[in-house]
């Protein structure tokens, strides 16, 4: 892979991660959000794959396949099942309306650019230059976590944060040891499974997954 097409592929797949994060903020439909999350996982795997191809790193290539299977297929599929079983929470109920959250996202993108310039200056290279995109994905994920009421949307926010962290790791370290990535991916999977069970319980007992209504203790 020659240098300019490597940079172009890296930029496009890295940019796609953030664009899909913004699209989850944009769409109200939870099913569409899960679809965006799946596409984001696939683009994250593309970033890892492009880096692996460029550096001829087998470990990174295995990581890419792992990311593709866990974040691109298994986790979204589990979430999709949750959404399908709970028809009442098909639409997200954001605390902040969509235009305002998009404008906030724009501000977060600018902030992440401002704070990342010093990190980039330490070692400027094509992957490290894309760090602001990863940081912005993390911030957008946090924003989604704090402004959404439904449990499913909050899990999506959590997974956005996780994808952002993974993106920054790929870009900055150019390959963490495989065992670390394996641990982190399985962790995420475990979180999704636990939350899925928790959600099923919540729905059974309370009839809703709106977390704002969980204010009082009940016997």
């Amino acid at each position: 892979m020659n240098s300019s097409s490597y940079i172009a592929a890296l930029e496009i797949s890295g940019g796609a991660v953030l664009v899909f994060a913004l699209l989850t903020l944009w769409r109200r439909d939870v099913k569409a959000n899960v679809r965006m999350l799946r596409l984001q996982g696939v683009s994250l795997a593309c970033v890892a794959g492009v880096l692996a191809l460029h550096q001829h790193d087998l470990g990174l290539a295995v990581t890419a396949v792992l990311v593709l299977s866990v974040k691109g297929f298994v986790a979204p599929e589990l979430l999709h099942r949750v959404v399908r079983r709970d028809p009442r929470s098909r639409e997200t109920a954001p605390l902040v309306n969509v235009p305002a959250s998009l404008v906030t996202a724009a501000a977060l993108i600018v902030i992440s650019y401002a704070v990342s310039t010093k990190i980039i200056a330490l070692a400027p290279s094509p992957p490290t230059r894309l760090v602001p995109i990863g940081v912005a994905t993390i911030l957008v994920g946090y924003f989604m976590l704090v402004t959404r009421r439904r449990a499913v949307s909050q899990i999506i926010g959590l997974l956005l944060v996780d994808n952002g962290i993974a993106l920054v790791t790929f870009l900055l370290t150019a390959g963490v040891p495989l065992i670390v990535e394996l641990g982190a991916s399985l962790d995420v999977l475990l979180v999704v499974v636990v939350l899925q069970v928790l959600l099923a319980n919540m729905r059974e007992r309370l009839g809703t997954t709106d977390l704002d209504q969980l204010r009082e203790l009940r016997d």
Partner: protein
Amino acid sequence: MILAATSLVYSIGTSLLQLVLLTLGAPVLLGVMDKLRARAEGRRGASVLQPLRDIRKLMSKQRLRAHFSSAVLPVAPIVLLVATVVAIAIAPLASTQPLLAPSADIYVIVYLLLTGSIALALAGLDAGTAFGGMGSSRAMTISALAEPALLVAVLALSIQAGTSNVPTIISRTLANPTMLSSPTRLLALVAILIVVIAETGRIPVDNPSTHLELTMIHEAMILEYSGADLGLVSIASAMRLGLLFALVANLFVPWGIATDTSIGGLAMGVVWLAVKTSVIGVGVSFMEVHRAKLRLFRVPELLAGGFVLSILAVVTGLVTR
């Protein structure tokens, strides 16, 4: 001296050619889009020349002016048309060397088009009818929301190319085609497409073929016009749509535009311009068939999406420079 004279003649010729091309071509483009829509909906549809015939018919009809309307009403279509004509004459559509190419700054073109929009909004308010005012207020709301997205997207393009002069952006892109596949350009493309759809009043934002008072925007604004004035507004709106489509085509698929001063190159430029603009028109009418119009209160969401994409375009432009 002779060289300068030939290039001046060439530039004037290019500008005139672009004007004639868009005056006749833009209504035909509208006709083609309507025809495609009709065919996709299972109707036969009017001939592609219908918009041209409509405009010719309107031009020969008597003007009727609303009572108590001021000079704004007759002047607005002329301002709209003149602003559009100047923008078309200086924009690089068939060739990168039209008249006044060095001053064809992208901001100049944007604000020329905006001058026209403002003239039309004032005209909508002028007669003092409820519909006109409603149309103007809606059109200005959408313009005000589309404006930041457009300007920031344009900023992203200028950061990437190092200039905000449209002909230079196009020739630099031709010299270095990898610029086209960069995320900056792609994100700016999406943002600009959203703004162009909003500004030309096509379907997710406004439905050009409806006169339903609850939804119409552009049609509500020009409700007081009749006869030749309506003809002027129609031709200017069509030319504006043609210009915006052609600019998008040239900024994102610059191949085919004439860069030298040969007649053959210019002829090829004209052919390519027609092809590229029709492709965008076909795409837009395809989308119009398959999409429903957005609720008016959802339009800010669409435009805010365009804005955040353009901010992202600027940031990626800065980090990958």
